[in-house]
């Protein structure tokens, strides 16, 4: 088991290093793209370009620049922004993390409860109309563009109804949990629901299909033959088996969302999280900030991937020998 974990985590380091190189190459070595021209602006003359190249060290060889950036990011931790010269990158990132975490954790609670509840209901219900209805809602959930849904939610809560039903909904934005828990909650409740819709849709569909497949397995027939009650079969065996899939799915989704996948929700609701920070820095071509946020997000995704694999190995010993 220990060897498995060690192997899995060394692979993780490999992937992280590769990603940092890949991002670096995307921004500095894409054929036909001149980063100096992007930083200097559209109509910069040759002299300005030269100065930009010199002051951003773009005239040094690629590998050296890569190593220097990694050293500033991870060892000295004093990487500075290209756009606001002198502004340190890491504090910007650490300020953005609580907003993203608040958004994602709240949404995760909602989508897990809704997804599991309706997924099991769709699989077990004897009534003919329940399964198709839930499946239909699941399809609508996964087909809604989250930014558009967010806009519609804003339209409903911030427009005409804002003076009556939704008087309690504050302006868009984010308030820290430690500042004012109640304001934190009311600022986030609609972003939570919006973000949760998509994932609830995915989880309902996955869980329903998993349970359906497991219910056809031989050992369920054995249980039935032994005279176990349907309720026991459903909860003790089918749902429990299917939850393993949900756990691994959740690990990956959670990692991706914390790592910036919630960007569209953050943009629509004006939440200054990691995704919004990445997006803003991408628009300014602020490479150090991009590098930091991408490394941070890749770390979360890769880490959750590894955790899921280890969890799988704990639950299923066959995996360990692969």
């Amino acid at each position: 088991m220990f060897a498995f974990i060690a192997r899995r985590f060394s692979a993780m380091v490999f992937v992280l290093v590769s990603i940092s190189i890949l991002v670096f190459l995307i921004f500095f070595a894409t054929p036909g793209v001149d980063p100096a021209a992007r930083i200097a602006g559209r109509n910069a003359d040759q002299l300005t370009l030269m100065q930009v190249r010199h002051s951003f060290e773009l005239d040094k060889p690629l590998p050296l620049r890569y190593l220097s950036m990694m050293r500033h990011l991870f060892i000295a931790r004093d990487l500075t922004s290209y756009v606001n010269r002198g502004a340190k990158v890491i504090p910007q990132l650490t300020q953005a993390i609580p907003a993203t975490l608040s958004l994602v954790i709240g949404a995760a609670v909602i989508w897990l409860i809704a997804g599991i509840y309706f997924g099991v209901m769709a699989a077990k219900s004897k009534k003919k109309w329940i399964d198709p209805t839930i499946s239909f809602l699941g399809i609508v959930g996964i087909s809604l563009p989250v930014y558009w849904l967010g806009e519609v939610v804003n339209l409903i809560t911030q427009s005409k109804l804002h003076s009556s039903v939704f008087r309690w909904v504050p302006q868009l934005g984010y308030v820290g949990l430690s500042q004012d828990p109640w304001q934190w909650f009311v600022h986030l409740i609609f972003p939570w629901l919006t973000l949760a819709v998509l994932y609830a849709g995915i989880y309902v569909r996955v869980l329903r299909n998993e349970i359906t497949v497991v219910m056809g397995e031989d050992y369920i027939k054995t249980e039935r033959a032994k005279g176990a009650s349907e309720k026991r079969i459903l909860y003790k065996h089918a749902t429990r088996m299917s939850l393993i899939t949900i756990v691994s799915l959740f690990g990956l989704d959670f990692g991706a969302l914390v790592g910036g996948y919630a960007l569209l929700t953050e943009v629509v609701f004006g939440i200054q999280g990691v995704g919004k920070l990445t997006f803003d820095s991408l628009q300014n071509f602020d490479l150090p900030v991009i590098m930091a946020t991408v490394m941070y997000s890749a770390f979360f995704v890769v880490f959750m991937n590894a955790v899921v694999d280890v969890l799988y190995a704990v639950l299923d010993p066959r995996v360990r020998r692969v």
């Binding site: 590769s18 995307i26 793209v33 087909s143 930014y147 558009w148 339209l155 960007l263 995704v301």
Partner: protein, 337 residues
Amino acid sequence: MSVKESSAAVFSDSPGKIALRNLRKDKRSIISLTILGIIVVLSLCAPLYSGFIAHTQPFESSLDATITLHGKSIPVLQPSTTGLGLGVTPIGPTWNISHYFLGADSQGRDVAARLLYGGRSTLFIGVSAGLLCIFVSLVIGIVAGYRKGWVDAVLSRILDIIWAFPVYLLAISLSVVLLTSGLTLLFIHIGPGSFALPILIIGVVYIPYVARPIRAQVLALREREFVRAAIGTGAKHSTIIFREILPNVMPSVLVFIPIIVSLSMLTESALSFLSIGVQPPAASWGTIINDGLGLLYTRPMVGIAPGLMIVLTAAALNLYGDAVRDALDPKSRSRGD
């Protein structure tokens, strides 16, 4: 004679034929294909609509245009009546098919006409990117799973790296870098406004989602007896791949197509919404939602209509995907009843 024929019809049907028959009977596939058909035809008719019905130029701003409504001539961009009276508000939906059915955007352009043109971009990019992704994934999956060894190791590592990169971050990074200057590969230059850029970008980011399961399937197939038998009889690699492996991975590929096309379409509109996808003057459903952002509280229809089109198309694709999956794999459909 007749007995022989009918029994042949029952027993000799290929799995593909059975699947097709299941699909034809499935109400979901009929409904979804009808919806998709209507949306595709409407989008294809965009030039006809703007040229002959609405008589409008959907890609040129017309700030001082007027229309005749209820016998009165009204400017398309109406002076604001609230606040300081500065600025203008575009005309709202007229619900009249011949002009400004869904109203105008802030540049006085007909939203309905732009919606149809936007559908062309979104559908074209979504379908092209989806098919590109599936094709490349199929090649990677089969090569990695069939050759095994170091080829598999290298390809799998590359997939791992793309996989660990959050889809939107990778797509956004590539778009931001490529949008200003385009991409130059050897002798081919792709201009910044070209649809080829979003197609390439979106096609690339979803490759691991398809290539990984296909690779796993090919790895398993390679150990099956019928493949070993083919190897044993000295069949060529190409024969084994095209005659033994490919037909057996096709069902999963077919299931992936509607799902990936829907994902590609959603990604395209998300990128366009962030103004790093389809570039003006071209329109896609995502760019129109972006146009509607500033008009959200005064003319919500500008942003709502394209979103509804996206939901409808994506839902139809996913519904069709479910129907295809169940048709190919009857086990997943029912729960023993």
